[in-house]
């Protein structure tokens, strides 16, 4: 199974047609996949909070949005999650690369990894952690759940899920 394709297929099947991204090496494949889909409008953002603003607008305009980002950015999005996405009650699936977990080669990435789940928990954001390839089977249900409850929902995807990192 190609997980990049499966994720893009699930987005399309759930009518998600507006996707913003800030890259991570682990996300390169899924971003490339989304970029070449005709049924998804891909709009790269310069910062993750900016991307969430784009998503909020797209949703009010009738399109289902999603953001693809790295967990190191979770801190810069706290205010936007609290005062825009949650305050106005908007759905936002967040596909997040979970850097700094098992099989991580870059020590600095661990420094935000240790805060990632704590911040998400503090904000009462439903959070799923994909560690094995088969975990991607839940993605479709997570998308349905997100647009059912109109909340931001985090899907943390670690290096083991993506099949390792770089040369490892």
């Amino acid at each position: 199974m190609n997980i990049d394709k499966k994720i893009a297929d699930d987005l399309v099947a759930n009518d998600v047609s507006f996707v913003t991204t800030v890259p991570c090496k682990q996300l390169a494949g899924v971003i490339a996949e989304i970029d070449q889909r005709d049924d998804i409008f891909h709009i790269p953002a310069n910062k993750e909070d900016e991307g969430m603003g784009l998503c909020a607008g797209a949703w009010m305009g009738g399109k289902r949005p999603a953001i693809i980002m790295q967990n190191t950015a979770i801190g810069v999005t706290v205010n936007t999650l609290a005062t825009l996405i949650q305050y106005y009650r908007m759905p936002l699936p967040m596909l997040i690369s979970y850097r700094g977990e098992l099989r991580e080669p870059v020590a600095c990435q661990v420094e935000m990894a240790v805060h990632t789940k704590a911040i998400l928990a503090q904000m009462n954001i439903p959070t799923y952690h994909f560690h094995k390839r088969a975990d991607v089977e839940e993605f479709d249900n997570i998308l349905k759940y997100t647009f059912m409850c109109n909340k931001p929902v985090a899907i943390l995807t670690d290096a083991n899920f993506w099949g390792g990192y770089g040369d490892q």
Partner: protein, 184 residues
């Protein structure tokens, strides 16, 4: 002219359009001058008005006018290249450049000193950028609507705020009536 005088003057143009309005006193002023279901008031999240408006303009065909501030553009400068590279001809970004953080007591911004937001928008790649005096805002805004071309307007005005009540409407009510107006 100060921001509230510009808003009073352009209110008849704004009335029938989708408007995304900047956090703080700008939203309070617009709400007090002419509250409409087609107005989306930001109650927080400084900096994201231009991004919300762009997402909205890209997602549906009606014209979208964003009323932003110089301080908010400066805090989300990455928005200018994103706007420039994702052209939506139903998008108008009106930056009310009073050279200050008006809502928090008129502390000066760099836009009121050496920095030109119009030049920054041009350098970011925005094709239609118009800087105007406060008194010309209505004419320039109407021309932008008629042009049906993505436009960035930088309206240079004086610092100062009108005394208006805080918006007490629930955010979900603001958002729900706005979405109904969008899809009407």
């Amino acid at each position: 002219m100060i921001r509230s005088e510009i808003l009073k003057e352009i209110a008849p143009i704004l009335r029938d359009q989708l408007v995304v309005c900047n956090i703080g006193i700008p939203s309070q002023e617009l709400h007090a001058i002419d509250d409409q279901p087609t107005n989306f008031y930001m109650l927080g999240t400084m900096g994201l008005a231009s991004s919300i408006g762009l997402g909205l303009a890209l997602a549906q065909p009606k014209p979208v006018i964003v009323i932003d501030g110089d301080g908010s553009i400066l805090t989300n400068l990455g928005t200018l290249p994103t706007i420039a590279n994702n052209v939506a001809d139903n998008y108008i970004l009106l930056i009310i450049d009073n050279g200050s953080y008006g809502s928090t007591g008129d502390q000066p911004t760099y836009a009121g000193r050496k920095t030109s937001l119009a030049k920054m928008a041009q350098a970011a790649g925005c094709d239609r950028v118009i800087e105007c005096a406060a008194a010309d805002t209505g004419r320039v805004l109407q021309e932008a609507l008629d042009a049906k071309q993505m436009t960035i307007i930088v309206s240079k005005c004086k610092s100062g705020n009108a005394k208006m009540p805080v918006i007490t409407m629930d955010p979900v009510v603001i958002r729900d009536r706005f979405m109904k107006a969008v899809s009407a």
